[in-house]
Symmetry: D2
Subunit: 440 residues, 4 copies
């Protein structure tokens, strides 16, 4: 690889979470200025969470800079410490992978992936390797660099420690999103002592491990994650927004497949619906486009589509009831009754189980090595953290899980007296109706 | 007015700036849930500043809740203190006006207002009084309430203290935006001791005044404002984004007027261009729509439009040079030379003078009483703050002002050798080229 | 009780933790200005922890104001909510008890209590009921008030909810010390969302309970406590300081009992050593006096006393080794060997087991009702938190505990070659020598 | 100088202001552990300010570590930047001087210096050069090092840039105390963007100067200083405490000179009173000793001494009146009247003018070069900041100043009716009686 081309003087971005993001290499600077990276400004980091926590309007652009910055600090400490287990000539590859790892996210990423069966990591690689500015910039820096970065993203890069640095239960991605999501939502549970954690990391035998004396800091980090998951990421009002969003995507695709004549279907949405969208067009997808489509679709003639679009744009979300156990038979009978009284059995009812969620929870004791957090003791021995920490062990044993039934309360109210007593009871016995943004 | 209808239990929104936003009246709750208020989620508080400070992605929705919350705290303190100068039955009107004061903002408000000669306060009133959900909710609470709120916004409400509370150099609007913009940009100059300022406010003879012992807190507030103006609001990179944005609006309107056939011109943009947009359609305007239009317009055939749209969406902004003095003759000769070498004399050059800016700077000694900050001493005498504070007096004397010439550097570079030596010198002697987001 | 005498205007203290401490009653104001309360400025909140965390120099005066403030906020919320289960005419008694609960603390409280078999709660009551300014102020406000406050402190006050408010696993005392100790040490694990917890508290049937929807906030609070205990309160370097301190008290008392002629033994230390100190003299005891005595005692002729005083004043603390298990026999053999090689078998060795500590850890499932945290669900049913929260249950199962042997390393080094191999091995195999203030 | 002896691994102290203090050289570590440096734990950073702001209980020990840390960061940046104007082999001397610069402070430093005509910088040098542990540690590291450090403190070190780094209007001392005093008092006016300032500093031609683009950050720093002076350092309640303290020192010395038999006058106070205290004994002076003496002196037979000691220990301070102008004649007549009615003309009246204060205010335009803040522009030209910044110029023109008369209100009240109408009027027309800790 070409020797690093330093910038004349270090450049900085002002960042509310890390204070400053420091850019020292010309390559990083140039990558930030590519259209593909700038597009991340138009993708929110937390999808629909801003409908629950109004501060959560931050983008994947900010987050990606943060992941880069934390990675830079880790590497800089590895280099200062002179640890032989860190391969110095991999530093720039690792920084590029950290910066670019979210490049493939689409608008309202998790929902659109589900609706159109896409995968953002795959798209990140397609963008890295396709006919893009990012690809040109990487290849100009060094031939083959784009493929090396993609390989880190795909986790099959030969230097395992680079993969581990960029993607592990204690990686810069997770540290930045905990801090950043806590900062922007205002929920202070995500505040972790990132300086202390960074001081405790060591490259060791192809892995990034943690000095044993940092165990409490890791416990605190995992507790912060646990709290953020239940307080923010799995918040039922956010789930409700996701469900309405999913209904929109589902209905629009259904209509498209049926040949419905949309009044508004700008380029490149047809290709998205047809399932053959190409890199260049994928990059035109952003949350501005999707929200504009939703807004215009409130004026389409299909009632279902117009209704769910209205709900999303005006934040008239579905309400929910929580139930312990529910069998397929009961669900069927609810759907049947819904149909009988004129509700739509699919669009007016969604069943959700929190662990179906697209977020990862740390599971100590996972046999997959790359999903473990390892401690390094004074005798240079390695232990998996749950062997040592009772706290970590106990978090791992926790299974939360109650089913939530989501439904449009305004519609249901009008017909509830027509439902069978049994089914009505399920919805009347409602717990915790999310009348507000953040019911605490 | 009907007696206030309290909510069953107070509701709260989690807010990163004020921790919690407390909603106690059903009317406020219902107003927040109107489509007109929810639309503010799609209008950024700081327009294009997110292109300079990537954290500044917060919306007018957040800000409006914050203004409401600060107003609520001020009123609650007035009520607890039992001050006779505060008319208790005006509290709800004041809260509504605080909450709704930004309802009329369009996408990238300041730029669009300039381009299409609109005024957001006027639009706020049109929305309050038009055929809207907000109007219905207010009128249902009490007949005539919408007009009373509009009158506070227009500053001609008969109870002058309500107008003064909602709009003055020390109002909740300014306090919230300083705190919020500081929080989201990460620039800590805007941090003010809002608790202390609130403790010092007193209703007095139709005005909200400040206890004399709070003078230092006010000095600090005005210094924070001064710093935020120069560090954030007037940042030359943000000005550059505004200029590119203005070019887009200008070009699109020019083309529309010439009968250009846009490939993409969704409802209700034609009405906006024609200058006869109605309330219902105005409410469809948001930053998602505008950004989508820009993105689609990168594919239009007009080169100028496509170019400025590309620049905005990919953040390839104009560079600038700073000059002390510039006369009309020099400007003319630059424009002529630009034309001669094939640059566009208007689109490739913009001249900007910071004090032309759409922000208000506090000017102590302003003879307009409603623009003054008044101190109340122990003998109940009133003094205008600049009579007492040297600091305030000295800020007021400061005139900053150098002209900035903005231009597309990539284009200029190609032809600079063809320019006359004199004109070339202006651009070569460039100071402070904004190569970065936040050059510090 | 006499009607509350409000102050002319609310008075405030600037506080780094709560921003402002609000004083609204003249009685509270007068109590703060008594000599007995002012004395708390000279007693550190965290004893010797400042030798580990240099920021931890805050006093019980600050903490007591904080406890008062949190209690004031809880009561104010109970009163605003109009809950019948809170007896409004007990508010001032509760505030006085909150403010004054630490009045009886001596210098380096926990160590001095251990050395001289005293109890700070008992002393608080003696000061409340004795010939003191605090007593006069309370009795002047209302006859019998001092006894009522003392009764709350003793936990035998007839209104159980007042006792529970002032002393429970979720009381204002604990909330303030977590926040304050985190703030002053700089260890951010203690940061809890106190606003949210306060919003969740409800008076219920003679107890202060928590709304079920606040369960995660309570989990977070208990985790913060757990982390603070292991990171701060049980820090081995702090334990080492405590041990050296205890050696000083023990030696000085021994010498006093033997009739040693101290060069420096100011009033009222003789009475303290004799065990018959009276209230008036007890109030002369503070950390200035104790530290001055230690400094002067570095010049006494008894070598042991001079040595431990030097160590404490110059922070040359004992080192430690951690061992899993240790039996009485082994300890005896160490002591014997120490004696044999000229070390002092008692003063040069201390054995410490963390759970012998004077701090309370929350034990869910404690059968004593007043030690439980109770949740209140929507059906007004009560549940003990560990029945509902897995996290809480798992914290409770954690027993940490390794013995620590503390010893003067400088002395030991000189003779370690004379020790038997077996005993030497214990000290050579040392783990984690606290070479620093805060080994992380 | 010997090559730096690095510690095995960097050691850290947890600090609430800077998060971590990083120690990399064995010499620094050893200096921190000397008795002379540990003594600074018993000297408060802000003297009597804790009687106004109860959080201000932090010591010069904490502050000295902070000054060291900021200096370390500046030097580390100079070294990373590879600037030739910084002499690399001076780094350790600079770090030692930064760490040790406050070594000579006595208890309640400013008051004791005034009372006994001492100077803490002189004492710092005596300790550095005397028969002390600090001296031995420095000389062991390199012969002559103690003298070099002392020379930096005395400002006559030959490498002027080292002196300038350690002592200038923008030095690490001032930056740390602003941040630290703001943190511990809770007054947020002192919050400055120290990261940004550090990024802007450059070694240049024997001076530490500021890049021109950092001008606003410097303005903000100077405003923060201005605000902290008026809100905290010059707070009239703190002035009152200082005055009572001075009365104590004055009276005790008077009595000592008169041969008064103190019941309590421990070593080494006699030497202090005699004015011939030596280094070894000076190091025994700390605030514990002084406060203990005050407490014991409340029991002395001299009424004046007992009274002022009581006042200080129980915080029954003098009240004050503010007056615009006062001439010597008036003062004389007040003193005469005081004497006539039985008040003490000296001890019961003190006149204070804020600018007599022992703090330095930045005066731009000071002809002494070492007191200037210099800006470095892109053409490497130097300008003094007030030539460029209007804000800085205007702060400099501000002279505050009203006389304050301090007196014991309780005593005055009893005799005020006996005073002449004229003199009584001065005290009756009292403004802003400091009834509280922090009247805001």
């Amino acid at each position: 690889m070409k020797p690093v081309q330093p910038l004349g003087e270090e450049k900085v971005f002002k960042d509310p979470v890390h204070n400053y993001i420091h850019v020292q290499d010309r390559l990083i600077w140039t990558l930030i200025n590519t259209p593909e990276f700038q597009r991340l400004r138009r993708i929110r980091q937390l999808g629909t969470s801003y409908l629950t926590f109004h501060g959560a309007e931050h983008s994947r652009f900010s987050h990606s800079l943060g992941v880069y910055e934390i990675t830079r600090r880790i590497i800089s400490q590895f280099e200062r410490g002179g640890y032989e287990d860190w391969p110095r000539d991999e530093s720039l590859v690792a920084l590029c992978a950290a910066l670019l790892h979210d490049l493939g996210h689409g608008p309202f990423s998790h929902s659109i992936e589900e609706a159109f069966d896409m995968d953002h990591e795959e798209w990140t690689c397609r963008i890295l390797l396709g006919d893009t500015e990012v690809n040109r910039v990487l290849e100009e820096a060094e031939s083959g660099l784009a493929e090396r970065v993609a390989s880190v993203i795909r986790k099959d890069y030969e230097k395992k420690i680079v993969v581990n640095l960029v993607s592990s239960p204690l990686d810069a991605d997770r540290m930045d999103y905990l801090l950043r999501d806590a900062y922007f939502t205002g929920v202070n549970y995500g505040t972790i002592d990132v300086d202390r954690i960074l001081r405790m990391l060591r490259p060791h035998n192809g892995r990034v491990v943690v000095k044993e004396s940092g165990m409490h800091a890791i416990e605190d980090y995992l507790m912060a994650r646990y709290q953020m998951y239940w307080q923010v990421y799995f918040h039922p009002v956010t789930r409700s927004s996701d469900i309405v969003l999913r209904q929109i995507f589902r209905r629009a695709k259904e209509l498209f497949d049926q040949g419905f004549e949309f009044k508004f279907l700008p380029y490149p949405l047809p290709a998205l619906f047809e399932g053959n969208i190409q890199v260049h067009d994928y990059l035109l997808l952003d949350e501005a486009l999707v929200q504009t489509a939703f807004m215009q679709w409130t004026r389409e003639e299909d009632e279902i589509l117009a209704d769910v679009c209205h709900r999303f744009m005006q934040r008239r979300l579905y309400k929910y009831v929580e139930t312990d156990l529910i069998d397929l038979e009961t669900i069927d009978s609810i759907r049947n009754e819904f149909a009988r009284v004129g509700l739509h059995p699919e669009y007016d009812l969604e069943i959700d189980f929190p662990t179906d969620l697209p977020y990862d929870v740390f599971r100590p004791g996972d046999p997959k090595k790359e999903k473990q957090i390892l401690l390094l003791d004074r005798q240079n021995r390695i232990q998996e953290i749950s062997e040592v920490s009772d706290i970590v062990r106990s978090i791992s044993g926790i299974h939360r899980g109650r089913y939530h039934l989501y439904y449009p309360q305004d519609k249901l109210e009008k017909v509830i007296h027509q439902l069978s007593e049994e089914v009505a009871a399920i919805f009347e016995n409602k717990i915790n109706p999310p009348q507000m943004e953040f019911e605490i």
